[in-house]
């Protein structure tokens, strides 16, 4: 018989400062948190930063987690906030005051982008406002139910529905075939 401790036990151990238990939680959730960040932010480097920040903040705030929602929902909430914070920060490359010019030569990233057949879809997702993008990503890419998205975003299920419908509409209107 193989026994696997569920998140609740690991969280309890981690709350008692057990870093090994927390490491197991990070392993279990890294994929969904990184994927959320990748779809929200559109590039791997920002996604990695946001995912790391999410787990660090979760560790620091662990004592406040009361298991009223699933641990994954709580993490999604932190991760979404980290992504929204990243999106609200001015990007250094486009900051007119930094005086730095963007490198016009195509680097490895842009070569990958050229070959990406999802490119126009990703561009359209990137054009959504952060408030529209979050419910869209949580629904279409993470497969969350309206109620759970509501818990993540602190909105009623009805408000989630409204934002999600708006986001879908903007997405199809913005998608250039």
């Amino acid at each position: 018989m193989v026994l696997v401790a569920d998140d609740v036990h690991l969280v309890r151990a981690a709350q008692a400062s057990d870093a090994v238990a927390f490491e197991e939680l990070v392993r279990r959730h890294e994929l969904r948190i990184y994927r959320l960040a990748l779809r929200m932010l559109g590039n791997e480097s920002d996604a990695q930063d946001a995912a790391q920040e999410t787990f660090l903040q979760a560790w620091r705030a662990l004592a406040s987690f009361r298991a009223e929602s699933a641990f994954s929902t709580w993490l999604y909430r932190i991760a979404t906030n980290c992504c929204l914070a990243t999106l609200s920060r001015p990007r250094p490359d486009t900051d007119p005051l930094s005086g730095r010019e963007m490198d016009p030569r195509p680097g490895p990233d842009s070569i990958t982008v050229e070959r990406d057949r999802f490119r126009s879809l990703k561009v359209a997702i990137g054009r959504l406002t952060p408030e529209q993008r979050a419910p869209l990503v949580l629904r279409e890419f993470e497969g969350l139910a309206y109620e759970e998205i509501g818990e993540v975003l602190g909105l009623s299920a009805g408000a989630v529905k409204g934002r999600l419908h708006r986001a879908r509409l903007e997405l199809v209107k913005g998608a250039v075939p």
Binding site: D18, A19, V26, E30, F55, E140, H165, V172, K173
Partner: protein, 210 residues
């Protein structure tokens, strides 16, 4: 061509958002008769379906988190712990109360894992580590729980502390062997029992050659 930039209603009066949701949620049309006969609706659906197909395809696309993610997070956390309260490092956290089983509470009941189960897992892993000749069955440390075959296991709730008395083969670097044992034992206890091993203390009591 940018098909849906005109407005939010089709010329037939149907709201575009309704059609988008119908496709996204795989819903049945609210007005099947109209949709099957309306040129505008059919044209819009014919554009929306492949578009949404791409969304679904992207959702199915495999995403691989960067390999260093877990390590980077844990490094930062351990650095933070050391800074904040060095006295709370797990290896110094000695179990105050001894129990003979670990108790896991689930929603549909509880599960107890006996300490002899954990001890067996630990013995097997330790002996399988290169450089370890034997566990020292002769010595026991009566301060901590039950000792059998050179391993002492103590548990509190879902945390395990283990003490091992090792005999290492001459010529093997002891710090490396000890590190390997700690890694293997910790991993095995975690995966086999689902418990999080907190502390694995080791004493090398002897070295042996051929």
């Amino acid at each position: 061509m940018k098909p849906f930039q005109e407005g939010e209603h089709l010329p037939c009066g149907v709201e575009l958002v309704g059609l988008v949701n119908q496709v996204a949620e795989d819903l049945r049309p609210p007005d099947p008769e109209h949709q099957s006969s309306c040129e505008h609706c059919r044209r819009a659906l014919a554009e929306l379906e492949p578009m949404w197909g791409q969304v679904r395809e992207l959702a199915r696309q495999e995403v691989i988190p960067p390999s260093a993610l877990v390590a980077t997070v844990m490094q930062a956390i351990r650095a933070e712990r050391t800074r904040v309260s060095p006295e709370e490092l797990p290896l110094r956290e000695i179990v105050p109360r001894l129990v003979e089983h670990a108790l896991l509470l689930g929603e549909r009941g509880s599960l107890r894992i006996g300490d002899s189960v954990i001890a067996q897992v630990i013995v097997r892993e330790a002996l399988a580590t290169p450089g370890v000749v034997a566990l020292d069955a002769g010595a026991a440390s009566p301060r901590f729980g039950k000792s059998s075959h050179g391993v002492t296991v103590s548990m509190r709730e879902s945390r395990v502390s283990a003490q091992l008395l090792l005999v290492v083969e001459i010529g093997w670097p002891i710090p490396g062997v000890v590190r390997d044992v700690r890694e293997r034992v910790g991993q095995a206890v975690r995966t086999i029992t689902g418990l999080a091993a907190v502390a694995i203390d080791m004493t090398v009591t002897d070295v042996r050659g051929e």
